[in-house]
């Protein structure tokens, strides 16, 4: 069967798009409603465990170092300043959203074979009216073969960046996001740099954004370098991704080994929400929740079981020591 030139063209575009998406973990469901859910957001924020000193640390972002400013303050003034800085901190810690990868939607607006061959270049028409959002801005392309169509996503990104540039974003993808260069940065464990720049360069529904971030999250998870992302805006996104892709074993192991039992339990709660597993009889005790999870969801992972046993023994010994100390103190008081 002979395809019309217009159909051949559409097929080429469609093929290109699908190959790009196949590289990343495609979400079977749309993660956006889960991500923007109030309860999930709260869980992610708690799990970030922000330390103000780390959130407000000096960063290589072009801000000049200046002479510090000193102020004398009363308790009340200090309280106000602290509250203001807390609001600023949560602004800085806004978690980059995880949404479904965008799909191409190219519509043919008109076919005018009469003007085909007029030029050998594509003509792009952009509506640059003030106040129109980048996502819904009207941009159309007149092909040399006379077809007038809407733009692909890459074309839209490019034209938006030309007419309404976002500072820090480049028209073409920087080479650091290509696998060979990305690997070098991942090897030197500069995860925050990659994730920050990905946030600037890509829209969250871009397949490239998903590829780069997921590659980074996987690397962090593999090397258990969660501390590198704690107190940053990317920790929530990473936990969301790990819980969604049922890949919590390493995180749980790290949590148990470093005594962050509450964090482990919260991550498991998130896991149940994201994977739509209603747990009516979710236990109150954090250790019990983790034990239950290991039993049912991880098929009794030997490392996790061993780590939890260790934790239990240590906490028991600690409790015993504490009670003994208290007893001695009480005895001493009575004797006195």
């Amino acid at each position: 069967m002979r395809l019309s030139p217009h159909r051949v063209f559409m097929k080429i575009i469609a093929n290109n798009v699908t190959t790009a998406i196949e590289q990343v973990t495609a979400y079977d469901r749309d993660p956006a409603p889960y991500f923007f859910d109030q309860e999930v957001q709260k869980l992610l924020q708690i799990l970030t465990r922000p330390i103000p000193e780390k959130v407000f640390r000096p960063r290589m972002n072009g801000v000049n170092i200046t002479t510090p400013e000193y102020r004398f303050m009363t308790n009340e003034e200090l309280e106000i300043a602290r509250k203001e800085s807390e609001i600023k901190m949560w602004d800085l810690l806004q978690i980059p959203p995880i949404v479904k990868i965008r799909e191409e939607d190219i519509r043919i607006l008109s076919k005018d074979p009469a003007i085909q061959g007029y030029t050998d270049a594509k003509h792009v028409f952009t509506d640059i009216t003030f106040g129109v959002s980048n996502k819904y801005r009207l941009i159309v392309v007149r092909e040399p073969n006379g077809i007038l169509r809407t733009v692909t996503h890459t074309e839209r990104d490019r034209l938006n960046q030309i007419y309404f540039p976002i500072p820090g974003r480049e028209i073409e993808m920087p080479k650091m996001f290509e696998e060979e260069h990305l690997k070098l940065i991942l090897d030197r464990e500069d995860y925050e740099f990659i994730l920050d720049r990905a946030c600037v360069q890509f829209n969250p529904d871009n397949s490239e954004y998903h590829r780069v971030t997921q590659r980074t999250y996987d690397e962090v998870n593999k090397k258990q370098k969660y501390d590198k992302l704690r107190s940053t805006r990317h920790y929530g996104s990473m936990i969301f991704y790990l819980a969604w892709s049922k890949n919590l074993n390493n995180l749980l192991l790290e949590n148990i080994e470093t005594g962050k039992i509450e964090d482990g339990a919260l991550a498991i709660k998130l896991y149940y929400i994201l994977n739509v597993k209603q747990k009516e009889n979710l236990k109150n005790n954090d250790v019990d929740i983790i034990e239950d999870f290991i039993k049912n969801e991880t098929n009794m992972n030997s490392k996790l079981v061993k780590a939890l046993e260790n934790y239990k023994q240590i906490s028991e010994a600690r409790e015993k020591l504490q009670s003994n100390i208290e007893k001695i103190h009480q005895n001493a008081e009575i004797n006195n």
């Binding site: 407000f56 004398f72 009363t74």
Partner: protein
Amino acid sequence: MSICALRCYTPFIKPIQRLFLIENRILNKTNIQNIDIWKLQTSISVVRPVSVLAKYTGKDLWKSVLSVSNAGKNRGRGKGLKRRQKDLNKGQIIGIGKLNMVWPGLNAPVMQEVNIVKPHKVSTNLDRELQSTTSTDLLKRRSRKVHPLLRGWTSAKLGGKSIGPPESSNENSLNDFETKVIQHRVVSHMTGNLGRVRVHSIFAITGNQKGLCGFSLGKASEISTALRLAKNRAGLKLMLIPIYNNHTVYHDFFSQFGSTKLFVSKKYDGYGLVCHRAIKCACEVIGIKDIYVKVEGAINYQHIIKAFILGLLRQKTHQQLAEEKQLHLVEFRNENQMYPKVIATPATVRKPAEVSSMEILDFTQYVLGGKVVLKKKKYPPFYINYNSYKIKQRKMEYLRNQDQVRIEMYAKHGELKSFLTDKYPEAKPHLWKKNRTSENEEEN
């Protein structure tokens, strides 16, 4: 004739050798055994005139060139005398010379198997090289290389020069100290006997770059003595100066000594020492790395240093300031996005009602003792309204992003090349060159 006296002077050795040769020949030819040698020698010595140089030893001659009698010295004679004795035989070794001769008995054996060796010339390159290196090496003067940063402010005077650590007699070694000369002057006073007596006055500051420092004045007729005096005395008068985070002062302050006034400003890490050169020397020695100081009033080097050290010693710690004010002292840094960091909290904090509206609450003004630094307005440069400047700006406008574009080209293609270069290779972008010839184009 005394041969001993002549031995010292190499120019006379050769004629004497020749003399003896003649003597021997006479003796051999005539074959007369009983000639009185003493007579012969005396007869020869009478022939040669006696030089002045022969009368005195080398030591005496050198002394006459290099020194003046005490009486003459007091009258100011012999000021342009040479200071040091010169080694006239430097680089010369007996038996080795420019001609590269073999002298049997001197630098070679007399007998070779059965034959007697005669004096002869040898011309081997190796020998000549050896000879040249030995003599030139000895004659070469080695200049002492001092690091440019330790040479001082100017090449002419001692100010700013580094003179090493003070000597210490006790066990506490001051080897990690460094001393810098702040001022070197020649001062004089009058005495009844000697008239105007000139003395070198050295003002030096020493320190270990960790807060310990001392300064002192040393006076002596010799520069080296004055330097040593000042240095060692400074090492005996050490003070401990508090340094904030190992790089700057605790807070801005004002300090005055005589009519020399200093406004000292605390600065951020990496700012450097922007101040009078004497204060810069002091900071380098004390261990302060970032500071701005404005000197007002008299520029007296000793007063500047004294005012600076006094000000440093009068600094208050943050805790002291907070206790004085009975308020929290909070630090805001731009690089930390103005996150309030409490650096000192007093035992009791005052309520807002207790803070009077009249008291100074501005931190800088408070630590400056109520003074406000006059900051002059910066005016735009004079050429800003010139027509030529506007024309230049207009001409340069199209170049304004060229650097950035060039970097992007290198990042994308690895060379200076745009997306149009393949289509139009004749318009390939290139770096600007003053003499751009056709050859260069071909190379590119």
